[in-house]
Structures are given as structure tokens and as C-alpha cells.
């Protein structure tokens, strides 16, 4: 028995060492850089700097964009996932493959392809020109950035919701109808509550990359368009202010971990939350 648990620890050891070196230690460095200046002395100025109106605007804008994109994804994805889950198993498989296929392409390419078609001289405007409609300016607008987020991360919302909905027992719907629910009531009283875990994981899977993106905003929002991701990226790749970048990452991480903790509470104690 002694021997067995020793073996278990020995087998887990390389992974534990790896996790300490390359997961925990890097996060410690984020803390370290966030609270020091260029010379390595302790300072709160990085964090204080983030309290200035210009940075607060960036944070607020990132949050707002990600929230809007997540909400649109949910509204678009839920009916889609529901429709797919009611199809025959064969068709479901095909639909899911079609949803996943763009996901297998790099998100840089996907974003780039949107950029190409909505450019001022791009495909859509050329098409409009043939129809005699004046070109519409789409690129480098807020709408383009949000569309980019929705387009890129929609599959992340569809897949988890589809997974829970496809496991939904049809007899539950029949039972609900039998007990006097209209289709509408069945949907809100039975289907929605049972798909909450899928919704929650979909929301996290869309919100986290949306709030931290920098490529989408760079390509579709124009060079002056700033989200948290862009600002952090700039600190590390052009401005070389690691300390400020670390402080921003720390805040971003804290915001995400806190919101995820809240979300998980919603998905865990089922029944206590009314949808």
C-alpha cells in the first residue's frame, strides 16, 4: 500500500514540477512586474496609472464590446443549437461539422477574411456598386469589431449549448406538454433551465477571448482602436513597458476569474436560480 501511493506521487511529480515552473512561477512574475518599476523597486504607480480616465475608458470599452458580442452570440446561437438538436442524428453530425470547420482555421485567417470582404473596396462594396448602391463604410467601425468577435467565437457558443440540448430527453418535452404547458411555457420552464450549464460554458468561452483580443480590433477597428488586449500587446511588443503591461494583465485576469467564479456559482447550484 505504501509502495502504491509512492508510485502515484512519482508519476505525478514531473507534471507537478512543470506546473510550478511554468504555470505558477510565470503568474508570480506577473505580480512581480506589476508591483515594481523598471529598476525593480516596489511601486504602486503601475496600478495607479490604470486608474486614469484614458485607461478606464479602455477597460470599460473592452468590457462593453465583449458583453455585447457575447449577448449577440447567445441570441444567435441558442435558436441555432436548438434547431440543430431537433434534427436527425445524421443531419446533426453534418451541421456540427459545418459549425466546427471554420473553427479549425486559424482565427487570424477568419478575421482577415472578414476584413477582405468589408473593406471600402472589398467584395461587398463592389457587389453593391454593381447594384448601383453607394459604398457603405464598414471597416474600422465599432460594428465591424463586434461582428468580428461574433463571427469568430459563435461556434464556441453553439457547441456547448448543442451538447446539452441534444442530450435533452424528448419525453421531458412530452411530459411538460402532457402537464399542460404550451410550447412556449415548455421552452422557458423545461428546456432553458436544463440547458443552463451549456449556456454558462458558452458565455465564458466567448467572453474570455473577446475581452482579451487584440487582433480583431487591430484588423477591423483600425489602428487607433484600443481594447485591453491591444494596450497590453503594445506594452510588450512596441512600448516595452513590461511593468504597466503586467499590471494590466493582472487586472484583466482578476476581472475574468471573478466573473467566472460568479458564473460557475450560477451553473452549480441548480434550482436555486430562476432563469
Amino acid at each position: 500500500m505504501q509502495n502504491k501511493s509512492f508510485m502515484a506521487r512519482l508519476m505525478a511529480a514531473p507534471h507537478i514540477v512543470w506546473s510550478i515552473l511554468f504555470i505558477i512561477a510565470p503568474l508570480m512574475f506577473v505580480f512581480y512586474y506589476a508591483f515594481t518599476d523598471k529598476s525593480g523597486a516596489f511601486t504602486l504607480s503601475n496600478i495607479q496609472q490604470l486608474g486614469s480616465p484614458s485607461y478606464l475608458t479602455i477597460f470599460a470599452r473592452s468590457g462593453a464590446f465583449a458583453l455585447v458580442a457575447t449577448a449577440i452570440c447567445l441570441l444567435v446561437a441558442y435558436p441555432l443549437a436548438y434547431a440543430i438538436s431537433r434534427a436527425t442524428p445524421r443531419m446533426q453530425k453534418i451541421y456540427i461539422m459545418l459549425i466546427m470547420l471554420p473553427m479549425w482555421m486559424n482565427f487570424l485567417i477568419r478575421t482577415y477574411s472578414i476584413m477582405a470582404i468589408i473593406e471600402d473596396t472589398g467584395f461587398v462594396n463592389t457587389l453593391l456598386g454593381y447594384l448601383g448602391i453607394d459604398p457603405i463604410h464598414m471597416i474600422n467601425t465599432d460594428g465591424a469589431v463586434i461582428f468580428g468577435m461574433v463571427y469568430n467565437y459563435l461556434p464556441y457558443m453553439v457547441l456547448p449549448i448543442h451538447t446539452v440540448l441534444s442530450k435533452l430527453d424528448n419525453r421531458l418535452l412530452e411530459a411538460s406538454a402532457d402537464l399542460g404547458c404550451t410550447p412556449m411555457q415548455t421552452f422557458f420552464k423545461v428546456v432553458m433551465p436544463l440547458s443552463r450549464s451549456g449556456i454558462v460554458s458558452g458565455i465564458t468561452m466567448v467572453f474570455v477571448p473577446s475581452v482579451s483580443t487584440f487582433y480583431i480590433s487591430q484588423k477591423l477597428g483600425g489602428s487607433s482602436f484600443d481594447l485591453i488586449g491591444d494596450t497590453i500587446e503594445r506594452q510588450f511588443q512596441t512600448a516595452y513597458n513590461y511593468n504597466l503591461g503586467a499590471a494590466m494583465s493582472l487586472v484583466l485576469m482578476a476581472v475574468i476569474l471573478i466573473s467566472m467564479a460568479i458564473m460557475n456559482r450560477y451553473s452549480d447550484d441548480e434550482g436555486s436560480v430562476v432563469v
Binding site: L80, P102, W104, S113, T126, V211
Partner: protein, 269 residues
Amino acid sequence: MKTLSKVYTMLIFVILYAPIAVMVLFSFNASNSTGVFTGFSLYWYKELLSDPATLSALKNTLILAVTSSCIATIIGTVAAVGISKLKNKHTQNAIMTVTNIPMMNPDIVTGISMMLLFVFVSAKLGASQSLGFGTVLIAHVTFNLPYVILSVMPKIRQMDRHLTEAAMDLGCTPFQAFCKVEFPAILPGIISGAIMAFTLSLDDFVISYFTTGNGFETLPIRIYSMTKKRVTPDMYALSTLIFIAVLVLLILSNVAQGDDKKKTRRAKK
């Protein structure tokens, strides 16, 4: 209702695939316009395939994906077996929580946190170049590990605990029981973990972007630097090739799965 949901589904798929379709179309354009199709040509493909930087980026990406997924699969599988055998549930939970951090954190935070570590350590060691293949490899192994562990762990849990006992009953030492019975039982989990690690590694841009140096460019980073400039159709050609590769792989894997199922069904009769 039925038609409405069909129309809706179709509409979403049209929007989802329109940009890709346009891209594929214009990759065959004779001119460099991304708005007007002037004639069919393979010019951009020739251009792309004669670009040594893109080809070396492709090679780098494959090397990185193979090595990082192999390392992560080995460490992760051994760890999953070890962790599942740990008596103390709190230790188990603590390890799993830490393991999952790279999965929950935004990529940009994972990327810069590792970059800070590498930069700091190499500065202390006085190394001239801090970032390169080694650092990207470490970063990729790190974000691949949770996926490997999470796909192996359920297979271990599902395994009938009597299987090991049955093997020992029939004469296996504990080590033989692992090799002959436990390992084959969790092999599907190991394979799917390895595949997932491989594809994630192929696809990663953000973490590689922060942890690689000048000497080592992966395909996604190459794409990034290409798209920094004006939009040119050789990018379209590259994307089309990637799209076709993904499509073929998906269809092949589906056909293979379908065959498996058919075989099982036949055996049941």
C-alpha cells in the same frame, strides 16, 4: 416553424461561410484586387509556394506541434494515472486546479506571463537571446497539458476497477497489469488528447507570439506579419490551402469513424 428554423440555420451558415467562399474565389484572381474578379489564375499559389519564409514557417509549425504534443502527451498521461491514484482528494483537486489555469486564463495573459519568466531568467543568466524555439516549446507543452490530462482522466475513471484485479488474478504483476490491461483501456483517451494537443499547437498564435523570438517563426505568426501589410491574395491562397487540408482531414476522420461503427454493427449480428 420547421421551415423557419431551416431558413434560420441556412442563413447562419451562409454568413459563416461567405467570407471563406470569397477568400477562396479571390485566391484564384488574376489581379491583386480583393473586390473585382478579373480572371482565373494560379499566380498567387505560385507566389506563395516560392516564398521561403512561408515554407520554413510551415516546417517550424509542424516540428513545434509534433514535439510539444508528444512531450505533453507523455507527461500528461503519466500524471493522469498518478493523480487518479493519489489517496488525498484535496491534493488531487489542488493539482487539477493549477493544471486548468492555462485553459481558463486568456491566452494573452498566459503568453505574457511566460514571456516575463523567460525574459527575467535569461537576463539573470546573461543569455544573449532569451526567446526562441525552446521557449515556445515550453509554452506549448504547458497549454497542451490540461487537454491531455482532461481527456485521459475520464478513461481512467470509466475503467472497471476489476480489470486490474482480473489481470493480477490471472498472473500479472502490478506492472504487467498496467502494460497489458490498463494502458490499452486508456489508449483512446491518450490518442484523442494527443490529437487535441497537436491541433491546438498548430493553431496557436497568441501564446507563440509572446514567447517566440526573431529566429523562430510559426505559420500563424507568419500570417500575422503578412496581414500587417496591405491585403494581398497570396494570403488567400494560403488560407484556401489550409481550409482544404482541414476539410479533407475532417471528412477522412468521419469516414473512418463511420467504418468503425459499421464494423461493430456487423459484428453484433
